[in-house]
Symmetry: C2
DNA sequence: AAACCCAAAACTGTTGACAGTCGTCAGTAT
DNA sequence: ATACTGACGACTGTCAACAGTTTTGGGTTT
């Protein structure tokens, strides 16, 4: 299986003297990782109700650890109704917008900090990453870039570069799971990929110039544009009720 | 006992059609609220190890719900070590600083949104609140204001006024618990109260002028100052090793 | 006296089971 | 045919108990 013990950000040289190489992973932790994988993979429809017993049986564990994992996912990827059960979170357009607003605030700050804290070698690696993205974009133009992991890699690198564990935790453990889930349903507007790529280059330039203000400004503009794009995309899909809008609310 | 079913922000008119008046509270939920109350009240020392069995016995519940509640507090108010147990979170100076940095990002955005979304009556109420604070400050000058609930009330009102549930959740469910815990140990510098009060008035003025940029700028400056004050306060207490620094690490 | 080793106690992680509640559906009345 | 009532089934919330590990304390050795 080879599941990572720590959900997303597993940097070995985090704290100065923090040595915890052998991360004894509990069943609850493993269940948490598996659940994130499964839910963000789009296997279940938004709003779909999930059975604890069924999940526990499928994961091969008891309901105790599973409930702990679900408790951690509550409000992020699943919703709980007291005596009813759990269901996959179902984003309303307003909630998606708020997701981007929070991202704008946090990642803007991350870019500001990254402009001060990222090493030159890290910045060089980020430049290489962008070049690679540019080549991929030439080959397969369209919406693959903005939705794919390429976009995430760029933002991850900057979040890491901020050297702020609290920021990392909030963004990577909370928001990015939800964002990934949202992307499964919403398709980016055509042309957005090229735009996003250009904005990434602007951000990199601001980082290279070591200007916190410019870095934060560029990042916030980038995410604000992504939000507006997501919103118009949602409205478009709501206007043409294809299969996207069908939600299985079983209650 | 009259425990509130929802931890902090229990506004009755939140969503447009969100009706959930009868909140069937589970034992895990109650345990969560109680644990937040107890830990943020400073009953346990930072770093102190807690026994699950002992807590369960004191709360009069089984270990199942308690473990769920502890799982939700993990990374916020308690730290877990896989086969060892849980202990009250112990802030290093850098983590306190990061707390304020995240606050600066999120509350700055909240102020921006509040400048657009708060009603005139809400702004009037906020003005009354500040006036009240001014009178209390005249009576009892010093650090009571900045550390007390008065400061929180002001910020709460603005966070509410942003009309952004995601922002609310992150700030109120996560950061403010930690902030309260930090304040138990760190004493604000003298004179900071007056400064903070003046900054609050600036923020209110920006909100009244309906200027998002000014509101965000004032709020961020306010929180940045609070961070610098907290840091110098920590360094001062570290230089004079009084009882503040004694930590009971039982491992 | 200090360091080491070993056994007992305590604790965490996990499991299976039980009670109360909710959703569903057949049956009946209108 | 439609609406209401009751019981059945499934599920959530909760608890007590079990296995493996960690900590602690005493006893022994150097």
């Amino acid at each position: 299986m080879a599941t990572r013990p720590i959900p997303l950000h597993s940097d070995p040289q985090s704290g100065p003297g923090a040595i915890e190489p052998i991360a004894l992973t509990s069943l609850a932790e493993e269940a948490f990782v598996k659940l994130v994988q499964v839910i963000t993979s789009g296997r279940y429809l938004p709003g779909q109700r999930l059975s604890e017993s069924e999940l526990a049986r499928q994961l091969g564990i008891s309901r105790g650890p599973l409930r702990e994992a679900l408790g951690r996912l509550e409000g992020r990827l699943v919703m709980r109704t007291p005596r009813i059960g759990i269901r996959v979170i179902d984003f309303r357009p307003e909630e998606v917008s708020q997701l981007f607003i929070v991202r704008e605030a946090l990642e803007g700050m991350a870019a500001r900090l990254a402009a001060e804290h990222m090493t030159t070698s890290e910045l060089a690696a980020l430049g290489d990453l962008l070049e690679e993205h540019g080549r991929q974009q030439d080959i397969s133009p369209g919406q693959a870039y903005h939705q794919g992991v390429g976009d995430d890699d760029f933002h991850f690198a900057i979040i890491k570069g901020a050297r702020c564990e609290q920021l990392e935790r909030l963004l990577l453990d909370g928001l990015y799971y939800q964002l990934r889930l949202h992307r499964l349903r919403a398709s980016a507007q055509p042309g957005r990929a090229k735009e996003a790529f250009g904005e990434h280059r602007e951000i990199l330039a601001a980082l290279l110039s070591r200007s916190p203000d410019a870095a934060e400004g560029c990042m916030r503009r980038h995410i604000r544009n992504a939000r507006l794009n997501a919103l118009s995309s949602i409205q478009a899909s709501a206007a043409s009720p294809r299969e996207t809008r069908r939600q299985q609310r079983s209650y």
